[in-house]
């Protein structure tokens, strides 16, 4: 592990000596355990140690944030822009919103991230984090337009690691649609992100994670959030195209009537490996959670879904649902699932379903008898399979945009 990581602490800004000392301490702790491997239950299906060791010989930290070209923005719908370069907040443009209602600034202190460490990547993040953004929507303010975070990665990131941390807070009765748009296809690098989310009473947060093009990135993202009374969180994960991506979501439904939706549509091709791991903790009665994970697996890709629904004894009237579906298009591809339920309350409705298999031959036959070619028929069915995810997005322009970007991916299927 020490040979793999060649970290220069001088290149990381620390606000004071204590922080600098803490960073070294956390790095020692990380080195002790190393990268998680498949002996760790959480990483059973994605052996990160193996994947990183196989693809990287030497990893250093990045300290360059030079913006090397113009970002091509999305023109399909009006939106506010936030630009991150290599994980660090570069600029923002929130001109659609009222002044002072939405605040974004660079996250400097890692306060609030000092919760109990769940995995070694948390130590690594605490040791090397360069900060990130801190976004807050004020009370009773419903954002007029979505915010797109252009998460831009430069071309000179080969063999580097980026550790960043973000905070998002949507205050009482506010609403926000946040789109994370990852750009940067050239470099081969590792990204380790920790994100904290607070959704206050009656607030709504919609989060869409999207990858612009295929990339050589190896990403890990940990999202942990707490939801207050009658709040709503919706996450759409559409980040196909990365070499490795694991998104871990840990949501706590702390107060009554909160709801959490996680939907994912991934189309994985050659040498791609994606894992979605969720833990939804129902701690209060009358909460709802809904998860739908769809994977299309081509070539030698690997898709993993690990989901856990936890229902505390007082969380009566919980309605929780988990569904994972995979279309396996090639014998080299693999789908692994572990949809877990841990339930201590009796008056609940909890169910999960999981299925994996190839495209329905009968459906293909049906389409072919109607004059549609085999390849077209397959694409049509895959499109239908993935598009179902978007049904939950009410804004038509965003939906069309997402459908369009998925269609581009599907066109590449042989």
């Amino acid at each position: 592990m020490e040979q793999l990581f060649n970290i220069d602490f001088k290149r990381i800004n620390s606000s004071n000596d204590k922080e600098a000392a803490d960073r070294k301490k956390y790095f020692e702790l990380f080195l002790k355990g190393g990268l998680p491997n498949k002996k760790n239950e959480n990483w059973k299906f994605s052996d990160l140690n193996y994947i990183i060791s196989k693809n990287f010989k030497n990893i250093t930290n990045n300290d360059e944030y030079k913006f090397d070209e113009k970002i091509e923005t999305i023109h399909d719908f009006d939106h506010n822009k936030v630009i991150l370069v290599n994980g660090s907040l570069k600029s923002y443009d929130l001109h659609f919103e009222e002044k002072e209602k939405v605040k974004i600034k660079t996250l400097k202190s890692l306060e609030g991230f000092h919760h109990q460490s769940k995995n070694n990547l948390d130590y690594l993040n605490k040791a090397l984090s360069i900060g990130g953004f801190n976004l807050e929507v004020q009370e009773n303010y419903k954002c007029k337009k979505p915010i797109i975070i252009y998460n831009y990665f430069t071309a000179n990131l080969n063999n580097k690691i980026i550790n960043n941390s973000n905070k998002i807070k949507v205050s009482q009765n506010s609403e926000l649609t946040l789109i994370e748009y990852n750009i940067g296809e050239k470099s081969k690098f590792v990204k380790n992100t920790f994100e904290k989310i607070n959704i206050d009473k009656g607030a709504v947060l919609k989060n869409i994670i999207l990858q612009k093009t295929k990339s050589n990135g190896y990403f890990y993202k940990n999202i942990s959030g707490i939801q207050d009374y009658n709040s709503s969180y919706q996450n759409f994960i559409l980040s196909s195209g990365l070499k490795f991506n694991k998104i871990e979501i840990d949501m706590i439904l702390e107060k009554e009537k909160s709801s959490c939706h996680i939907l994912s549509g991934l189309n994985l091709s050659k040498e791609e490996h994606q894992e979605i791991k969720t833990q939804i903790n129902h701690l209060a009665p009358n909460c709802k959670s809904y998860q739908k994970i769809k994977n299309v697996l081509e070539s030698d890709s690997k898709g993993v879904y690990q989901g856990k629904i936890f229902v505390k004894d007082i969380a009566q009237k919980t309605d929780a649902y988990q569904l994972s579906k995979a279309l396996i298009l090639n014998d080299e591809a693999e789908f692994n699932a572990k949809p877990e339920l841990e339930i201590y309350a009796d008056d609940v409705k909890c169910s999960h379903g999981s299925s994996s298999g190839s495209i329905d031959e009968e459906a293909i036959h049906y389409l072919m008898t109607r004059g549609i070619e085999l390849r077209e028929a397959k694409k049509l069915l895959i499109k239908g399979f993935l598009n179902e995810i978007f049904d939950n997005i009410p804004e038509e322009k965003i939906r069309t945009f997402l459908e369009k970007s998925i269609a581009v991916q599907i066109d590449e299927i042989q």
Partner: protein
């Protein structure tokens, strides 16, 4: 409240029989193993095999990933062998059997004496560790079927035992399986010759009797080409305060076109209503569908034991082989169950089906944990899994932990699970028609379990149905 009284119903089958025991010296040592081997008059190869397992055991650690935790077991403080004294010289007929033993069996309703002819069940009864009597031998002999205690098979059919023992559960397996390999005392051995259909249900009743005796049975069933056998295993145990370890190994081998049906009703002492005492049921059951078109079907009704921890599995090696798992696990009071299955698909066109019903009441915890693994070469394979849990009250827990792996594009895996409580409407409907709360619950639960119950052979189905009702009486008030 009436239901409250029923909830605390004492274990009906809790009684002990006073018979003087021969015991091996306490503790787990080479000497203990040599003692067991000697008293069983085993050949040297068997002793060597045991010692090999024991050496392996020394480097293994007890697993700790399971949900139900238990106090540390002091393996040096257990007796590894105890036999009813009256069996030192094996009885030739039933008349020679200690009448007290017969009485115990009668209380349990085991059809050993007069009842054996009526019920048509051949019983190889294991009282503690030594097989007492084996009935219906004659009829089975005629067909060439071997059904005897494994200790006898080791002497009489060493070739078969050597070939198959440890071939499904190797001695280097996990901790409890290896422990069993080192110290197993007795169990059943079944061999069905080619193209033979076993004319009756084979059955063994296990009973734990002597205090502080871990029971380590070893069962080996081999169904040769084109044969069929249905095997029943049922358990009730006397009341006891100390936790007793039970680590049995069951190995099934099905060759070409053979079918094995293995049914279990387990009703060991679950501990009292405060969770004191009870049996630790840590069993390794594994079947190998070695041949083409072979089939292994596991059915289990688990109502007893303080902790039930087992995963009857199928290794589907042969092309077109089929694995099935039907399970009802009922936990009440402080009982804990962590059970499920593993279906490992290796051959082409293999199929498996899992139906699991978990019911928790009181402060119990019930976990379904299962693995479905379809390998890259297992083309056109299929799996269907359904696991439903029923919760009664908010002090108990129901958990589902399925592992699903699909490694090829022509195979399909489907998995469904639900967790709910007894439907109020159904209860209301039953009440309206004059059934009281208890009867209504019993009826609904039996309906919930029906898919599994109907897989049991007739002899067992009735007993199991009764058990399901008894185990849950008073859980809904």
């Amino acid at each position: 409240m009436k239901s409250e009284e029923l909830k605390n119903q004492e274990y009906k089958y809790g009684f002990t029989t006073d018979i003087e025991n021969i015991k091996a010296p306490k503790g787990l040592t080479d000497e203990t193993i040599k003692f067991i081997s000697k008293i069983k008059k085993e050949p040297k190869w068997m002793l060597d095999w045991r010692l090999k397992a024991f050496n392996r055991l020394k480097v293994l650690n007890e697993p700790n990933w399971q949900k139900p935790k238990y106090p540390k077991i002091d393996y040096q403080n257990l007796y590894y062998y105890s036999a009813p004294k009256s069996l030192k010289d094996k009885p030739k007929t039933l008349d020679e059997v200690d009448p007290k033993l017969i009485e115990t069996y009668n209380k349990l309703g085991i059809p050993l004496n007069e009842q054996k002819r009526l019920s048509g069940v051949a019983v190889d009864a294991v009282f503690d560790s030594v097989s007492v009597a084996t009935t219906f031998k004659g009829e089975l002999d005629k067909k060439g079927i071997i059904f005897c205690p494994i200790s006898e098979a080791i002497q009489k059919h060493p070739d078969l035992v050597k070939k198959y023992l440890g071939s499904v559960i190797p001695i280097s397996d996990h901790y409890f399986a290896t422990l069993n390999s080192a110290v197993f005392t007795d169990g059943s051995f079944v061999y069905i010759p080619p193209n033979t259909r076993c004319p009756m249900e084979l059955s063994t009743y296990f009973r734990i009797n002597a205090s502080e005796t871990g029971q380590f049975e070893r069962t080996l069933i081999i169904a040769d080409k084109g044969s069929y056998v249905s095997y029943l295993e049922g358990c009730t145990a006397p009341m006891r305060d100390e936790n007793q370890l039970h680590a049995a190994n069951v190995e099934l081998v099905a060759l070409d076109d053979a079918e094995i049906k293995y049914s279990t009703v387990q009703n060991w002492y679950p501990g009292d209503k405060d969770g004191v005492g009870g049996i630790y049921n840590f069993v390794t059951k594994r079947g190998a569908c070695r041949g083409r078109n072979s089939k292994i079907s596991w059915t289990q009704v688990e109502t007893g034991s303080a902790i039930t921890w087992k995963y009857p599995s199928c290794i589907l090696q042969g092309d077109n082989s089929v694995g099935e798992f039907y399970s009802i696990a009922i936990t009440n009071n402080h009982q804990k169950a962590d059970t499920g299955t593993k279906m490992i698909h290796l051959g082409k066109n293999t199929k498996s089906k899992i139906i699991s019903k978990g019911i928790s009441a009181g402060q119990a915890d019930n976990t379904y944990r299962g693995l479905v693994d379809i390998g890259a070469k297992a083309k056109n394979s299929r799996n269907y899994t359904q696991c439903d849990s029923l919760l009664m009250g908010n002090k108990c827990g129901a958990h589902t932990v399925p592992y699903i792996r699909n490694k090829n594009s022509s195979s399909t895996i489907e998995h469904e699970a639900t967790t709910s409580k007894i439907n109020e409407d159904q209860l209301f409907y039953c009440n309206q028609r004059g059934l009281n709360q208890e009867e209504a619950v019993s009826l609904i639960v039996n309906g919930f379990c029906k898919e599994v119950l109907q897989q049991l052979p007739m002899e067992f189905a009735v007993e199991a149905q009764k058990l399901v009702s008894i185990s849950l009486e008073g859980s809904v008030g």
